[in-house]
Subunit: 290 residues, 2 copies
């Protein structure tokens, strides 16, 4: 496994692999790798001859400096996991390499970036699309794999790739969950143990909604109310958003569901009153099929 | 010479050429080709094995719908000129291919896009950078050539390429002029004959400024006043802007020139009171060396 730190070197490697007819899959990450990331590596392996993984904690996508400060950084362990997972190249640039002084170009996706995380994390997606553009242009992959847990991000990156003519197939990888249903996330380690115990409330809310839809519920407001009630059972949970959206346009779902609808959740988990640590924001989602 | 209309086909051609070790130069144009464009083709030829030229009148970079409506379109003649100039591939997509319905991604350069044409043509450069990004990703060139007449555009595209890690060398081509000094521009044909006779006032103003600097003038305000007086000698000319700027940052030049300064001009030429036709906006520039 090769570890590359500069864009120039990565581009030369990409040119050499492409000229040799090798198909490249890219898995962009912010490190702190868990089994969710490794399942994206396996997804890439299915679709390409080489799997490259990038590790870059993108400062421009953090709207909250506290969140950036506590975001876990575990490069040594990450490299060991990549090696074990058969990753061919890890690209681990520093901030100066990825965002040199004087940088002033941004890539912005319009309407898809407005609701949900776009509404409550201003500038977040613009940071994501700008950095992912830079990673695509540095690594020149044929395929790129992103987790479905970040549903809106995946939709935005698909749109971006199509709109700008990136010759990159953007692929989603299934959300990987803990035994208790909590979606794997690098932020889970920052949860207070008591908050971690309450975190399955997200997946329980998603499942409750799917059950309601399966039993014939079509009323969007009723479904969202059911979801909010479920989440409110967790005393440390504060809902950021809980919304039903069109799975493609991310526009609001109709009052009466007629087709698939995305149920998207973002919830802050606070430590208990006498507990240490900051609050941690978790997201999860499920497409409900009536 | 091959004429290609779809992005997909162009990308496959680019992959094949790159895999065969061929170096590609791209000359993006809006058609209505003149000797200025053809000199960019020669510039590309010096730096690459293949020269590709794109013809696309980019609707998203026209802030004025009247300007877009009268922009000359001469595809048949353009193709003949390309053939004669030894262009290898012409990419001539339609608007739906380049800006399909639902497109919502924009590429934006920050500070460099604010002054000069960015100030008087809102949205113009965002349209340019978005479409040029799409063209770069469709044609995958090693080198791209743009005219120095559009100085700010060239600076912005250089910045964009560097910021986003485009593996494309952005190269400027010298401004080509008519016998009377008027910079070649596709818009010149839209000038009323009387306005065309007055158009050399731009290059005369640039030369007068350079003479003043050569004789020791360092006062920015005095130089700009001299330039404005020169342009005002043309009764059909209305100055859009006439400014001295830092050649790299495009920030305002210092009150007292100490190094090279960009003198950038944009001037509307109106038809005479009893004449037909719309006004035509011409730009020109020169870097002054004290």
């Amino acid at each position: 496994m090769e570890v590359v730190h500069t864009i120039r070197e990565l581009q030369r490697l990409a040119d050499a692999e492409r000229s040799a007819g090798q198909r490249l899959a890219l898995v962009p990450t912010m490190g702190a790798l868990h089994d969710g990331h490794l399942s994206l590596v396996r997804e890439g392996r299915k679709r390409a001859d080489r799997v490259w993984l990038t590790i870059f904690v993108n400062p421009t996508q953090f709207n909250d400096p506290k969140d950036l400060a506590v975001y876990p950084r575990t490069l040594e362990e990450d490299l060991a996991k990549c090696e074990a997972a058969g990753v061919d190249v890890v690209f681990a640039p520093n901030a100066k390499e990825m965002v040199p002084e004087g940088s002033q170009t941004r890539v912005e996706v319009g309407e898809l970036g407005l609701p949900l995380c776009g509404g409550t994390r201003p500038g977040h997606f613009s940071g994501v699309t700008t950095i992912v553009s830079k990673l695509f242009l540095a690594a020149k992959p044929h395929v790129a794999v992103f987790g479905e847990k970040d549903y809106q991000q995946l939709a935005i990156l698909r749109r971006m790739a199509r709109d700008l003519n990136f010759d990159v197939e953007v692929v989603g990888g299934k959300t990987v969950r803990e035994a208790d249903g909590v979606a794997l996330s690098s932020r889970n380690v920052n949860l207070h143990p008591e908050a971690r115990r309450q975190a399955p409330v997200l997946v329980r809310a998603l499942e409750a909604a799917q059950r309601a839809v399966a039993s014939g519920e079509r009323d969007s407001r009723a479904i969202v109310q059911l979801v909010r009630r479920e989440i409110d059972k967790a005393p440390l949970a504060r809902i950021d958003y809980a919304e039903l959206r069109d799975p493609d346009s991310l526009g609001l779902a109709p009052a009466e569901l007629a087709g698939p609808a995305l149920l998207a959740l973002a919830v802050h988990f606070h430590p208990p009153q006498d507990g240490d640590g900051a609050s941690v924001r978790l997201i999860d989602n499920r497409v409900l099929y009536p």
